[in-house]
């Protein structure tokens, strides 16, 4: 069914965090070969830009898909408080066992938001690690 009133709404926010790439099942040489300077165990940081897109139909009474403030509060609570000015490997539970690549961070953010988002449907998580490098995740297995 084509839903003619479907609107896609994107909210952007920024956070800064540090990380390193390291697979404990590999030797130091393998880690260095695959991850290059990202394997430095002292870590390094980025300014991440997150764009979260939700979709839903326009509420006839309010003209909204979702209250932007509620979406902003959700992003603050689930993403920024957990990740902003943190060391992702050491302080964010998802990355105790997963390497905090931009791909895995985008998936972790999707999983955090999807559980808590009730008023609209999550459509896409786009995460920029650098202005010229970003990842899109649509919740696909």
């Amino acid at each position: 069914m084509v839903r003619r009133n479907m609107i896609y709404l994107t909210r952007k926010c920024e956070f800064s965090a540090s990380h390193y790439y390291h697979n404990p099942q590999w030797t130091e040489e393998e880690n260095r070969r695959v991850f290059g300077k990202c394997a430095n165990l002292n870590g390094h940081g980025h300014n991440y830009t997150l764009e979260v897109t939700v979709k839903g139909e326009i509420d006839a009474a309010t003209g909204f898909v979702i209250d932007l403030k509620q979406l902003k509060d959700l992003l603050n609570r689930e993403v920024l408080e957990a990740m902003d000015h943190r060391h992702l490997n050491k302080e964010v539970p998802e990355f105790a066992s997963r390497i905090p690549t931009t791909e895995n961070i985008a998936i972790a953010i999707w999983q955090r938001l999807e559980k808590k988002l009730h008023l609209a449907k999550l459509h896409r998580v786009r995460l920029y690690e650098l202005p010229d490098l970003f990842v899109d995740y649509y919740g696909e297995a």
Binding site: R4, M6, I7, L9, T10, T53, I58, A61, G63, F64
Partner: protein
Amino acid sequence: MKAHLTRRYLFSASHRLHAATLSPEENQAIYGKCNNPHGHGHNYALEVTVSGPVNAETGMVCDLGELDEAVHHDVIERFDHQNLNMLPDFDGLVPTTENLAQVSFNILKQSFRSAHLEKVRIEETLMNSFEYAAGGEPRY
């Protein structure tokens, strides 16, 4: 070969988010400062995406001048430096950017026929944007 083309336009307008069907308290609770009685304004950025086969002779999906003419004449001139609440388009419709995107799409669907209208995207601020594709799913 099909290609997509997106062009970006800017306009400035004021609005007030207020639903006549709701009480003053409900309006305040839902819209917060966007419900302030005298309205407020934004610099909106409008992105229009059209698609179609690349013409073998011109190498183009459509004439950009024609697209500019339609968008300027039918959308920008209609909304730029206006109070959206006062326009007939928003008679009985709250001028949220969701509704503005849908109204803009429907206007352009009528007025621009040289390529297929895929999507309208409007940035209300640097942090918010809204896309309407009339049932299509925007991916890029």
